[in-house]
């Protein structure tokens, strides 16, 4: 039930953040801290790869909303990959799916 975060350098302005486990009230702080560090750097594109994310609650969604706001201010972007059905369902309930940039692979992102 813990959260594991792996950060992969992709191109210099972009990082892929791989999440596995549970993003909940007990673990959201870990992701919040990692993203805070990324936002302080030159990174302006973040890809959240949710291939092994089994669970998300409103605490996790709050981190995502916060990240989206911050990246928008940096003229950057937040992308999502590999959402599991149960995670997708939570995004669906709060109606954020239409506003999310969901991609199948990293090559789809146009970098300046």
């Amino acid at each position: 039930m813990e959260l594991n975060i792996t950060i992969n350098e992709y191109k210099n302005s972009m990082k892929e953040v791989q999440l596995s486990g549970s993003l909940d009230s007990n673990s959201y702080q870990q992701l919040d801290n990692e993203i805070k560090n990324l936002l302080e750097s030159a990174i302006h594109i973040i890809v959240l790869n949710m291939k092994d994310l089994e669970y998300i609650s409103s605490a996790g969604i709050r981190v995502i909303v916060k990240t989206q706001k911050a990246l928008k201010l940096k003229n950057g972007g937040l992308y999502f990959m590999n959402l599991k059905p149960q995670v997708k369902k939570v995004f669906e309930i709060i109606n954020v799916l239409p506003f999310m940039q969901i991609i199948d692979n990293l090559d789809e992102i146009d970098l300046p």
């Binding site: 009230s25 007990n26 969604i61 709050r62 706001k69 709060i94 506003f99």
Partner: protein, 141 residues
């Protein structure tokens, strides 16, 4: 009928114990993995709300949680002695706004209402009781 009860301290680190009990209850009551997910999410949302907003600081105050199923429905009862909240006054999130325009709060309660069929909240004499009910779809084994 499956009944599971637990008393947890008002600390977010207790969440893992709660999640284990949700799975134990769900498996013994033969609930589908989708229903177990819904119960886990609704229970976490209320527990996190009570811990974060009901008390001045985390500590040893007890929050009592009961899960029970009978026939085609199940209920979750959460009792705490923290600050009561006015459920009607919790602002509903505007779910038509793009993500970056959304407010950060109010999502937990919104999810609970969407996931459960009935939500009853009552606060009397320093005791807050929240009851969730959910109809169960039969699960084939």
């Amino acid at each position: 009928m499956v009944v599971k009860k637990i008393s947890l301290k008002n600390q977010l680190s207790e969440l893992n114990i709660l999640v284990d009990l949700v799975y134990e209850f769900g498996n013994e009551a033969h609930l589908s993995s989708e229903t177990i997910f819904d119960i886990r999410l609704a229970t976490e949302e209320v527990f996190a709300n009570v811990v974060s907003h009901g008390y001045k600081s985390p500590g040893d105050q007890l929050i009592h949680i009961t899960f029970e199923n009978s026939g085609d429905d199940m209920s979750i009862i959460i009792i705490d002695s923290g600050k009561p909240f006015d459920i009607e006054k919790v602002e509903k999130p505007d779910i038509n706004l793009p993500m970056e325009k959304r407010k950060i709060g109010g999502l937990g309660l919104f999810l609970i209402y969407e996931l459960m069929d009935e939500v009853i909240y009552n606060s009397t004499a320093g005791k807050n009781t929240m009851v969730f009910k959910k109809q169960l779809k039969s699960h084939n084994h």
